[in-house]
Symmetry: C2
Subunit: 167 residues, 2 copies
DNA sequence: GTGCAACCTGAAGTCGACTTCAGGTCAAGC
DNA sequence: GCTTGACCTGAAGTCGACTTCAGGTTGCAC
């Protein structure tokens, strides 16, 4: 309680935070607008960040990595208390939802990889017979507009078995 | 050589192709504009697709899954011959570059997952000491503007060890 | 006390991957 | 032969995540 109020030296300017986080200053202002991070202001209206902000940013970047939008990241961040360390339960909830997301992504990639390996291994060279052709897609890291590949329609009748990526 | 020229029944309208591929017709027109797929035209100027187009689309969607942009997908597609099955070597090149991309992505996710698990397992709840804080980022599936997380600056001097995702 | 890099703001621009719109044409079943 | 749903085009809009710009202010080293 007594030891340290954020003594001036603990505060980072936006430029310093940018350097340390690897994000551009403009991105940090953008993050602030979205409510992902917060800053105090100097009398001259310049932003000053506590070092803890680096952690919030790390959290956000990690969230992006597991496929969350910034808005979702903010929601996740909001589940954690702002002014004290998260409790085990609190952290658990967040971490576990990430785990499953990560697992899903890994599974999907493994599946795609297996199909691809099969393609080479079997030497078929024909996506008609090859798993890749029917590989499940659904969502994934692809970004907005992720829709499904040829999942629901395994062959639509026997393909003429002629082409291979060519017409 | 003789058996079948694309007899009228092998040709799909854009609507049919949309249904089967799961993409919107507008997306297919867009893909065509990018040179990812091609269509012949009826006398009335409507598009007609061969069934092989489904395979090209599958290829493109898979390419997106491994993190390629549509433009990169087109490049990859161009490495494969358009009017015959790809040779082993041709297919191999494409497939292998995908493999490594997939592997990289998996490794990254595994790493992130491990950090996260560690966080829970060790109960530290502090990203200061926790690996997540310093998790490598670099590129990845995050999309345009992917930059690096707190990689190059492991701690920037010993953190006051006070905050945990909070201010 | 002054010079200049670093900072401020709001508005607009960018990029990838599409979708939507407006206004018009085609195809095929009755 | 007519109706109606599917299709056509080019231009513009959308969404997320930022960046760039223009024009003005601050802070700190000398």
């Amino acid at each position: 309680m007594s030891a340290h109020a954020p003594s001036r030296h603990d505060l980072l300017t936006i430029g310093q935070l940018a350097d340390r986080s690897g994000l551009a200053a403009s991105a940090l202002r953008y993050y602030e607008k979205l409510g992902l991070i917060h800053a105090t202001r100097t009398t001259g209206n310049q932003r000053r960040y506590t070092r803890g902000t680096l952690r919030r940013i790390a959290f956000v970047r990690a969230a992006q990595r597991v496929g969350l939008s910034l808005d979702e990241a903010r929601t996740a961040l909001d589940r954690l208390p702002e002014h004290r360390a998260p409790s085990g339960a609190e952290w658990d909830g967040v971490a576990q939802s990430w785990q499953s997301r990560i697992d899903e992504q890994i599974v999907e990639l493994e599946r795609l990889k297996a199909k691809l390996t099969g393609c080479i291994g079997c030497g078929c060279l024909s996506l008609t017979r090859c798993g890749l052709y029917n590989a499940a897609d659904r969502a994934g890291a692809a970004g907005p507009g992720a829709r499904y590949l040829l999942t629901r329609d395994p062959a639509t009748g026997p393909e003429p078995a002629g082409g291979d990526f060519t017409e």
